[in-house]
Amino acid sequence: MNRMFAAYVGVHWVAVVIYVVATIVNVAGLVFRRERAERASYLILAAGWLVHSGVLAWWWGVTGHGPYLARTEVLSSDAWIALTVFLIFQRLYPRVRPASVIVFPAVFLMIALGLFFDVQIRSLPPTFTGIWLVLHIAFYKIALGTILIALACSVFYILKRRTALPWLGRLPELPSLDLHAYRFAGFGFIFWAIAMLAGSIWAYKSWGRFWGWDPVESWSLVTWILFGIQLHLRRFFRWSGERAAWFYLLCFVFSLVALFYTSHLNTSIHMEYFR
C-alpha cells in the first residue's frame, strides 16, 4: 500500500514539475512576445495533463470512487477540471488565452498543496453516492474553472488600467477584457447554480430535505447571490471596467471560502468527506 501511495505522490509531482515548466515557458512567451514559446507551452502542458489524467484515472480504479473524497484527491481533481475547462474555453474564446498566466500557476499550486495532506484511501459514507452527487461536485469544479478565467480577465483589466507594464500590451484591449470578465462570471454563475441544484436534489434523496442551512450550503448561496449582484450591477446599473473588476475580486474571495474553507467546518455535513 505504501508503494501505491508513493507512486500516487510521485506521479503527481511529475505532473507539477511539467506544469511549472509549461508555466515558465508560457509566461516567457507572453512577456517577451515569443509566440513559438507560447505555443510550445501548450504542448508541454498537454504532456502534464496526460500524466495528471493518468494518475487520477489509476487512483479512481484503486479507491473505487471518484477523486473527491480525500483532500489531496479533491485538490488534484479541482486542478484537473479547472485546466480542462480553460483548455476548452481558450479554443472557443481565443482572447482568454493570456488567462493562462493565472490558470496554470493555480493548477500546479492546487496539486502541490494537496500533496501536503495525507494521502489516504477513504470509503464513501453510504449517503455519498449517486449521480446527483457526482454532478453536484463536478459542476462546482467546472464553475471554479470559469471563475478563474474571469478572475484573470478582471486582474488584467485592473493591471492594464493602473500600470504601464510593457507585456500588458499583448493582452486584449480593455473593453474586450471587461466583456470577457462579464461573460465568464456569467458562466460561473450558471455552473454554480447547476451545482447547487444537483446538491439539493441529492440532499432531498438522502435526507428528505433539499436545504438545511448547513454552513457549506449557506456560503455557497451567499457566493451565488454575490455573483448575481455583480451581474445585476453590470446589467442594470451599467457597472463595467475597474469597478466591476474590483467587485468581482470580492466575489472570487467568497467563492474560495465557499469551496475550500466551509466544507472543513465541523458543523457541516460535508465534513463527512474529510473525516
Partner: protein
C-alpha cells in the same frame, strides 16, 4: 403605480438582494438554534459581552423564522413577481415586435424568399414583419432567459415557503421486531407553522435492518425492511435504504446512516430487584474497533459506559456473538466492569448483570410535505433561464425594403463583440457574396 415602480426600481431590487445576503451571512456567523448544540449556544451567549442581548432582541439566533426576515422575503417575492411579469411583457415585445425604421449597415440584392432562406441557414428565424420590414432573430428564446430566471426564483421561494409552513418531519429509532404505534412519541419532530402534529397513518414495525460492508469493513449500504400494519388489513411491506426512499400513504421514509446493536441487559440489585435496560450503540467502524455510548437511567445512581465489538472472535461482521463491555462510573472513578456475550452473566460492582438478548436498531426519517416538485421545477427554471440569458444571447437582423433589395441592420442583445465575425459573415452572405 408608484408602488409598482418602487418594487421594480433598480435600487429596491438591489436592496432586497443585499438584505437577503446580509441575513444569510448573519445566520452563518451567529449560531442558529435549530443547527447549533446547546453547548455552542451557551458559549456564544458568554463570548462577546453586549452582543448576545442584541442578537436575542433581533431574533438573530433563529433568523429564518423572524418576522423581519419573513418581511424581507415577502418584499423580495413581490418584487420578483412584478419583475417576472414585466420581463415577460418585455420578452414578448422583443421577440415579436415590428422594428422601428432605422439606418442600414449593409445592402442585399436578394429577394425575400432567398434572403429568408439564407438567414435560416445561419440560424436566423423570421419573427416579425410590417411596414416593409422583416425581422429575423437567432436564438429568439434567449429573450425569455430572464423571464425564466426570475419566474424560477418566484417558484422556488413560494414552494419553499409552502414547505416551511406545512411540512411534517419526524425521526424514529426502531428496534428489530418492535412496533411503533401512531400515538407513540417521535425521537425528534419538526413541523411547519401551519402543520398539526405529525401522526403516522398506521402502526409501523421494523422487521429487519441489514448493513452491508465494503472489504475494508466500512458500511456501504443500510437496508431496512419495515411493515405498516393497517388494522384489519394485510401488512404493507416496504424496503428503504440510504438514497432509496420509500413512500406509504403520503409519507416518505428515509433511511438514516445510524445503525447498530442494542443490548438488553438485566440488572439485579442486592435486594433482588430486577430491571432490564436497553443499551443501543452505534455500529463500530471495523471488526477491530469498538462502538461506544454512555447511559444514565433513573433506576441507577451511576453512569454506564458501554462499548462493543461486533464479533467476540473478531472474525465476521455478521457474527451473532457480539462482545459487550460495561463500565460503571462513579464520577471519574470506575466502580465496576463486566464483559458479556449473549446469555452470559457477571458481577458489576454490587449488581448482577446478564446480557439477555441483542437486536439491531436503526433510525428512520418520516416526512410528509407538499411543494417539492415546485422547488425543483423552480431550480430548473433558474438554471435554464441563466443558460438562455448567458449562452444564447439573441442576435437580430432587420431587413428594410429598399429599391429592389433590402437595407440590413444587425444587432446583438448582449456581448455584441463576440459576434462581430458572425455579423460580417452574414452581411457578406446577404450581399450576395458566396452561396451562404
Amino acid at each position: 403605480m408608484n408602488i409598482k415602480r418602487f418594487f421594480l426600481s433598480r435600487i429596491s431590487v438591489i436592496s432586497f438582494i443585499a438584505l437577503l445576503l446580509g441575513a444569510v451571512v448573519a445566520a452563518s456567523v451567529i449560531p442558529q438554534e435549530f443547527l447549533a448544540t446547546p453547548g455552542e449556544m451557551a458559549a456564544w451567549h458568554q463570548a462577546p459581552p453586549g452582543l448576545a442581548p442584541w442578537a436575542a432582541r433581533l431574533g438573530l439566533h433563529h433568523l429564518y423564522t423572524t418576522p423581519w426576515f419573513a418581511l424581507v422575503l415577502l418584499l423580495t417575492l413581490v418584487s420578483l413577481v412584478l419583475s417576472s411579469i414585466e420581463q415577460c411583457r418585455l420578452a414578448f415585445r422583443r421577440t415579436f415586435e415590428v422594428p422601428a425604421p432605422g439606418g442600414g449597415e449593409g445592402n442585399s440584392p436578394l429577394s425575400e424568399p432567398d434572403l429568408t432562406a439564407r438567414l435560416r441557414r445561419h440560424g436566423y428565424l423570421p419573427v416579425a414583419r410590417g411596414g416593409g420590414m422583416l425581422r429575423f432573430v437567432k436564438h429568439p428564446w434567449g429573450y425569455w432567459g430572464n423571464v425564466l430566471l426570475h419566474g424560477g426564483m418566484v417558484v422556488v421561494i413560494a414552494s419553499s415557503l409552502l414547505i416551511a409552513l406545512t411540512q411534517k418531519r419526524g425521526s424514529l429509532t426502531l428496534f428489530e421486531g418492535e412496533l411503533h404505534l401512531p400515538a407513540d412519541p417521535w425521537n425528534s419532530e419538526e413541523n411547519g407553522l401551519l402543520a398539526g402534529s405529525f401522526v403516522l397513518p398506521e402502526p409501523v414495525r421494523l422487521d429487519r435492518v441489514t448493513p452491508h460492508f465494503r472489504p475494508n469493513h466500512r458500511i456501504s449500504r443500510i437496508v431496512s425492511e419495515l411493515s405498516f400494519l393497517p388494522p384489519g388489513d394485510r401488512p404493507r411491506r416496504l424496503s428503504v435504504e440510504v438514497n432509496a426512499m420509500a413512500s406509504h400513504r403520503g409519507v416518505t421514509i428515509y433511511q438514516s446512516t445510524d445503525v447498530g446493536h442494542a443490548f438488553n441487559v438485566e440488572f439485579t440489585d442486592p435486594s433482588g430487584r430486577r430491571e432490564v435496560f436497553r443499551l443501543p450503540i452505534n455500529h463500530p467502524e471495523s471488526l477491530e474497533e469498538a462502538g461506544y455510548n454512555d447511559f444514565r437511567f433513573p433506576w441507577l445512581p451511576v453512569k454506564l459506559q458501554a462499548k462493543y465489538l461486533v464479533d467476540a472472535e473478531r472474525k465476521s461482521l455478521r457474527s451473532r456473538t457480539p462482545l459487550l463491555t460495561i463500565r460503571m462510573m462513579e464520577g471519574e472513578n470506575e466502580a465496576g466492569r463486566a464483559t458479556l456475550r449473549p446469555g452470559e452473566s457477571a458481577a458489576l460492582d454490587m449488581y448482577r448483570v446478564r446480557l439477555d438478548s441483542v437486536q439491531r436498531w436503526t433510525t428512520l426519517i418520516f416526512v410528509e410535505l407538499t411543494g417539492m416538485p415546485g422547488v425543483f421545477a423552480g431550480f430548473f427554471m433558474v438554471v435554464l433561464g441563466t443558460l438562455l440569458a448567458y449562452c444564447t444571447p439573441p442576435r437580430e437582423l432587420v431587413a428594410t425594403a429598399h429599391g429592389r433589395g433590402y437595407l440590413l441592420r444587425w444587432r446583438a442583445a448582449k456581448f455584441a463583440e463576440f459576434y462581430q465575425e458572425e455579423r460580417s459573415r452574414l452581411l457578406a452572405v446577404l450581399a450576395g457574396e458566396g452561396e451562404g
